[in-house]
Amino acid sequence: MIRGIYAVLVIDLKRFWLDRARMIMGLAQPLLYLFVLGAGIGSSSLQGGANYQRFIFPGVLALSMLFTATFAAISIVFDRQIGFFKAVLVAPVPRPAIALGKVAAGAVQAAIQGLIVLPFAPLVSVHLGMIETVELLGSMTLACITFSAIGVAFASRFNSVTVFPIVSNAVLLPMFFLSGALYPLEKAPDWMKLAAHADPVAYAVDLMRGAVLHTFFFPVWLSLAVLTGVIAVLTYSGVQVLKRGEDDSSLGASKFTWK
């Protein structure tokens, strides 16, 4: 089991490394949010430019990690289409190990992407002391695993890469926008506050923001509980999908057939 998880992790990270150009390209999106959108909105809002950028910094970190993690999860869909995973499927690897390895691999990739964005913190007046850094890294870790579990839970159900961008727009963007990453949830309309309670990304952003700015929207214990719960439930569901695939070699994705 552990060996299987490790093997999945190694292959995915090797492939991630082959695509390291993507890592750099992946910086464009958070930096655009931070320095263009952030500066623009900041200068026209009550909070003032630098303050706003500082405010959205954890949200932008989350954005970067969320998209990296879900993109990493798409590899499940790709793997089904190339033969490579067929070779893995006939190796004595328990199906749950594949799901767990995918969650781990996505989380590590998201973390790397997050760590690349992190050095830009001082440029938006986010100054991190020892304790803040530890708290931030801790909440980033939790966020990465959550986002990866979200990605795997979705990707494991799809058999076509083409539908994935549609889903990610229909699911990821709403989750991001409702998370309070770009605005304070305190001042949002009630329905949005309510919706944010159902959005795991909101808890992740709130934890990270709390580590940086020391203000929380959700109680810390609630955020920790929700994220842990989300990880457990989604990972379990991803495992179940792959297990279901034991007898049809499609890893359980609907309608998918190898030939």
Partner: protein
């Protein structure tokens, strides 16, 4: 399933044992009752047109699909109940590439080793061994996608050998390769069987099936014939001997007297016999005329298939020759 301990059953069991195997998909019945036994060390070919059920049977043996009815064992291990043990004992080359093209061959092999539970260092050692054995040393450290088609197939074979399997499954493993590369590939496989491995392969290249010890012809989800290449061909009515003598009329008379049924063609005598190779020495020794030229044609496996199913191999022949019609109505397809 099996009361004997796995070790004992592994040693004496047939390499592949299929009993009353049926596989139904939603709409089609891909396998309609297959029985099959492959002995250890055998090179066994499964031959049939597309849609005959080859891939379904292959997938079941490869533990990628479960049977609807009946059962299958590989090396005495049930492909459903003892799935993981089967997986540990077999190597598979798929029709489609199953190596990560952007990684080097060596990386691919090491990774596969990890999937088989080897530690990093033993996986590296094992990869180096196989690379040496298969003569891939020159190309093992280049990204797989830069290799030639033949080299890539060899790499697939190497991947299947990572777990040092006692049985090797090859599914249309040489599809798309040129003749030379195919020959090289099969030479490699023959070398592997020499070491006592069982090889079970599917193909629709006739000449590839000829290298097998035994062949099962499969059509519409049933095995229509099973035997050595030679047996299969005698089933169709043996072969053809063509004779050219200095006195064909005299030769014909003699042949008829000795129980043969010679027919005169434009310039030769033609004898159809169940086993032409065995009668030839006698003919040459005893014919009271001088033989100027002799040739023997074996019927091809395609002739066998044609005779048994009424259809050619490559595709549909709605007006098959007589002898067809044994095919059950409603041909099963593969999903």
């Amino acid at each position: 399933m099996n009361p004997t301990p796995p070790e004992a059953s592994l040693k004496n069991a047939p390499a592949v044992e299929v009993r009353a195997l049926v596989k139904r998909y939603e709409k089609v019945e891909a396998l309609r009752g297959i029985d099959l036994t492959v002995q250890p060390g055998e090179m066994f070919a499964l031959l049939g047109p597309n849609g005959a059920g080859k891939t379904t049977l292959f997938s079941i043996l490869a533990t990628l699909r479960a049977p609807t009815e009946g059962g299958a064992k590989v090396l005495g291990l049930d492909v459903v109940a003892e799935r993981d043990a089967v997986r540990r004992a077999m190597g598979i080359v798929f029709q489609e590439p199953a190596i990560e093209q952007r990684l080097t061959g060596r990386d691919n092999l090491v990774l596969m080793g990890l999937f088989y539970g080897l530690s990093s260092s033993s996986a590296k050692k094992r990869a180096a061994e196989i690379i040496g054995d298969l003569g891939l040393a020159d190309v093992a450290d280049r990204p797989a996608k830069t290799l030639s088609g033949g080299q890539r197939r060899k790499l697939e074979l190497a991947r299947a050998l990572v777990c040092n399997p006692r049985i090797l499954f090859l599914d249309e493993a040489t599809l798309g390769l040129d003749v030379d590369a195919r020959r090289a590939f099969w030479a490699q496989v023959s070398a592997l069987t020499a070491a006592g491995r069982t090889v079970f392969f599917t193909t629709h290249y006739m000449e590839e099936a000829e290298v097998a010890n035994r062949i099962a012809l499969i059509d519409a989800g049933r095995i229509v014939a099973l035997g050595t290449p030679r047996e299969l061909k005698t089933q169709v009515g043996g072969g053809v001997v063509n004779l050219k003598t200095d006195d064909d009329a005299k030769a014909r008379l003699w042949l008829t007297e000795h129980g043969f049924t010679p027919e005169k063609t434009a310039s030769e005598l033609m004898i159809i016999h169940a086993d032409p190779a065995s009668i030839l020495p006698e003919l040459l020794r005893n014919l009271p005329v001088k033989v100027q030229r002799v040739s023997v044609h074996e019927p091809s496996l395609e002739d066998v298939f044609l005779k048994l199913t009424g259809r050619g191999f490559g595709g549909d022949k709605p007006d098959g020759p007589p002898g067809g019609g044994r095919r059950p109505p409603g041909r099963g397809g593969e999903a």
